[in-house]
Amino acid sequence: MQRLEVAFLEKAKELLSSGQVNRVLAYKKGEFCYDVSPAVFYSVEELENAVYNGFCGANLSKYLIQESKKEGKVAVFLKPCDTYSFNQLIKEHRVNRENVYVVGIECQGKFSIEKFYKTGVGFVASVQEDLDSVLVNGETKIDRNAVKLERCLVCKKQHVVYDELLVINEKKDGDLDRFEMVKKLEAMTADERFAFWKEQLSKCIRCNACRNVCPACTCTKCVFDNDDSQISSKANADSFEEKLFHIIRAFHVAGRCTDCGECSRVCPQNIPLHLLNRKYISDINEFYGEFEAGKDIAQKGPLTNYTTGDIEPNDFKGGNK
């Protein structure tokens, strides 16, 4: 795995020193091995702090909305799932494709530090990565799948847009059914579902991290910040507003959400927000045929399309009673 990081650094240096791009959007080291941040590097010297490892979970495509509008070309290292988001942004004219040099980079699944803590390893000072396992603090070996983010267990695997690929090993695993939990919820009774979501959504503190990190939420001004929209709200002053915010947010990204899972990754209260988006994805697949947002920009989005024989709104099967 370390080989990949070396190749990443070499590629970044080569792109900068050759003048092919004038900056690189990637990840930089933090204080620990796990608190990696997205960063822009302007010189080969700055790349000393660059890093590419299992903690580089952040989806860089959203930063390209701003970065691609600036002077000069920016190189970016995108994971397979990030490329879907990027492609969707291209479709919606939110990025300037000519200004971006995309290196599709290998990803063997990214980590959740909280899952490390759950294994009982305590403080995580160092992580040596292997294709199927990780070695924590030089002593404890853990199955890689045990510490992966949920979204990495249901990986997209293929890059859909890139100028160049940086892949050494094929992606392993990640073939679980991403709709498993959606199905479980549908199988619950309506009362159980209501209780589940009430408990989950009541945790929401409306920090807007899910919205602000979301590569589909790219409005210059969100309806929830806009008093003219008649639904603006800053806090969940009533249990209704928790639902309103999340239903509308999911609806606004329905058919555009690439299921990158960033919303759930960043939620400070660990609300499984991706289950809302996946419900829409699974409904769209079921009602209107398989659709993967960001996969093919020529394809019409399911909510801007129709067929004369579409299912009637009163007729969907829905969850249990």
Partner: protein, 663 residues
């Protein structure tokens, strides 16, 4: 602050019998912003309207709420009343307390309460109304007709007759279309050329009509009243202005192996040719695929022979740009390809022909000069079997799911013509149903059976195969419940028709829609059958759906009437309730463009000031108010709420929701 006047109508006793109108006007008088609240017996009467007009002036009203019958009934009346009193007509809201209250509720208390709530709701909406002005746009007094078949010709002639200029753009070298290929026409059996060619000549001679043949639509910009169309005039290598159509060149041309598409490829033609004797324009054209000069530079005989020096081997495609107020699409049809129907052996056996090919064989100007002979050995057939519904009403995916509508009639016509000219020929017709709705149509079909002794067989053919020199048609006879093997000399297939493939590109250019069978969709199946959903685009002939000649001509004239109605206006009054994007919120994501049924939304790169002398260029949506019909599809698809609809704004509808729920 709005100053609102409320006017409650009794509608005689229609409302006042179940709604306490006094109470309604008294309660609504207490609503914030309401400065006057009155009730009257008949608000829509002249006196009632005068009451509204006077109150507007007297109380300086900025808005009017009328609680009365359905707005679908008298909204226009009250708008006019407002306008005549100097108030913007869109500063009016109607609360429907008749159809939605007095007529359906019996309990006075309940009805009165509901009337008050509906009144409050109208007031809540009105508070947020803004004066609207329907925009105006000038109309360019010229029409474009795409397609020069009988539909296009008829539309063009009618429009020209009304005094407007028309251009016909035809992709082939002559106008006339499919009808020019036909022999006789049902149900009168008069010859197609005899009735079509005079119309073609009329077109050519009409000063108002400009015919651009061998030309195609390249680009379309603009909107109703103001289209800008780029037309590609393809190189024909003959100067149209100089050529007199004398035909010397066509006789001298040494390359004579090109297939004659006018004769359905049943014979050949020279590399330089005039499509047919009555072609309009009667001008030669060079097929560059066949011309020796154009292929390898050796020849040039035609140029040498041409008395007017009209031949120009260097001619290039030319793009002309013209402006139109209205566009008629009359792109017509073609028979479907029969390659999916191996069972009939069309591609295998020369003597299995399509009906359109049969037309040419029967046509006096056709490849056989009108002698009935079969293609393989030019012998006169003694038994001819016709098969109907070849590829029509087919949901298996090989053919078309719809009925092609014309086949029953022309097959009867063919049968009759054969029996008339060659009485000793046996004619069999396999049919599923014989469909003859139309004036004198069923009589025509019955004549084929009763007078001409045509053998109609209810059943379908499973296979056509060859036995010796003859074809054998294997089919079912469902009436006698037997399977037939009919030895035939010739088999004629009534192939389904489909829209000309060029329509796809044209529909895209015109941003109008086509259905799953590539027929253009009309704005309303019953009430707007010749208008497309896109304003200013009209549909003529088979491009909209299968039709025979009488129907096509009627529709073409209807289409022309619509065009004339449009061109007669100097200015177009646009719909006032249009969508518009808040540019500060718009992200230019294109979602709205995707759902607009009218193509009213485009995107522009616009510079915005950021403060501190900095600017940024952003892509934002721009709605053309002349095209927008105000459905609001865009407003909901827009996640940022940048898109809103005047007259039905998000705020207004939310205010109505609030008012209804408040009790």
């Amino acid at each position: 602050m709005q100053r609102i006047g409320v006017f409650v109508c009794w509608c005689g006793s229609n409302i006042s019998a179940t709604v306490d109108v006094e109470k309604v006007s008294a309660v609504l008088a207490l609503e914030p912003n309401v400065v006057i609240s009155q009730n009257y017996q008949y608000m829509c009467s002249e006196n009632g309207q005068a009451l509204i007009r006077n109150s507007i002036k007297e109380h300086n009203l900025t808005g009017v709420v009328v609680c009365s019958c359905s707005p679908r009934m008298h909204e226009a009346t009250f708008r006019r009343a407002c306008e005549s009193a100097g108030l913007n007509p869109y500063m009016l809201e109607v609360a429907n307390i008749r159809e939605q209250v007095s007529w359906i509720h019996k309990d006075i208390e309940e009805a009165t309460e509901k009337a008050i709530i509906l009144g409050r709701t109208a007031i809540a909406k009105l508070r947020l109304n803004t004066p609207l002005t329907a925009g105006e746009s000038p109309v360019i007094k010229r029409a474009l007709v795409i397609g020069g078949g009988i539909a296009g010709i008829q539309s063009a002639l009618d429009i020209a007759e009304a005094g407007y200029e028309v251009d016909i753009v035809e992709k082939s070298p002559t106008i006339g279309g499919n009808m020019a290929k036909l022999d006789k026409t049902f149900p009168t059996l008069d010859c197609a050329a005899c009735i079509l060619t005079p119309k073609m000549v009329d077109c050519a001679q009409n000063e108002k009509i400009d015919i651009l043949t061998f030309s195609e639509i390249e680009s379309v910009k603009g909107f109703v009243g103001n289209f800008k169309v780029g037309i590609r005039k393809k190189a024909r290598f003959v100067n149209e202005k100089l050529c007199t159509g004398c035909g010397v060149c066509t006789q001298k041309c040494p390359s004579k192996r090109g297939l004659n598409d006018f004769n359905m490829n049943l014979n050949t033609r020279p590399a330089i040719y005039i499509p047919f004797a009555q072609a309009i324009p009667n001008v030669a054209i060079i097929d560059p695929e066949q011309c020796l000069k154009l292929k390898n530079g050796k020849c040039g005989l035609c140029a040498m022979q041409c008395p007017t020096k009209a031949i120009d081997y260097t001619q290039q495609d030319e793009i002309v740009e013209r402006e139109y107020g209205a566009i008629v699409v009359a792109t017509g049809y073609k028979p479907i390809s029969l390659e999916n129907f191996n069972e009939y052996g069309y591609s295998t056996y020369k003597d299995v022909v399509t009906s359109l090919e049969f037309e040419r064989i029967m046509n006096a100007a056709g490849p056989t000069s009108g002698h009935l002979e079969r293609p393989s050995d030019h012998k006169q057939p003694k038994v001819i079997t016709f098969i109907q519904c070849v590829g029509s009403r087919d949901t298996s995916g090989c053919g078309k799911p719809y009925c092609s509508k014309i086949c029953c009639m022309y097959t009867a016509k063919h049968a009759m013509l054969v029996r008339e000219k060659y009485p000793d020929t046996q004619v069999n017709i396999f049919y599923i149903d014989v469909r003859t709705p139309g004036k004198n149509y069923d009589e025509f079909y019955r004549r084929a059976v009763e007078q001409y002794g045509v053998n109609y067989i209810k059943g379908m053919v499973g296979k056509v195969y060859k036995e010796g020199d003859n074809l054998v048609v294997q089919g079912s006879d469902l009436i006698n419940n037997e399977q037939l093997l009919i030895k035939s000399d010739m088999v004629v297939l009534a192939a389904a028709i489909e829209p000309d493939p060029s329509v796809r590109k044209i529909a895209t250019l015109l941003t109008t829609s086509i259905d799953t069978n590539n027929f253009l969709t009309e704005a309303h199946a019953k009430l707007k059958p010749v208008e497309s959903p896109t304003a200013g685009i009209f549909l003529s002939g088979v491009c909209q759906g299968p039709k025979d000649i009488p129907e096509t001509v009627s529709q073409a004239s209807a289409c022309a009437a619509k065009v004339i109605g449009l061109l007669a206006k100097d200015k177009l009054k646009c719909n006032a309730s249009t969508a518009g994007a808040d540019e500060m919120l718009c992200t230019g994501c294109s979602l709205c463009e995707n759902v607009c049924p009218y193509g009213a939304i485009t995107y522009i790169d616009k510079e915005f000031r950021l403060g501190g002398g900095r600017t940024e260029v952003r892509r934002v949506a721009s709605v053309n108010p002349a095209v927008c019909q105000g459905c609001g599809a865009c407003t909901v698809t827009c996640p940022s709420g940048a898109m809103d609809l005047k007259g039905f704004s998000t705020k207004q509808i939310m205010a109505e929701v609030d008012a209804i729920c408040k009790n």
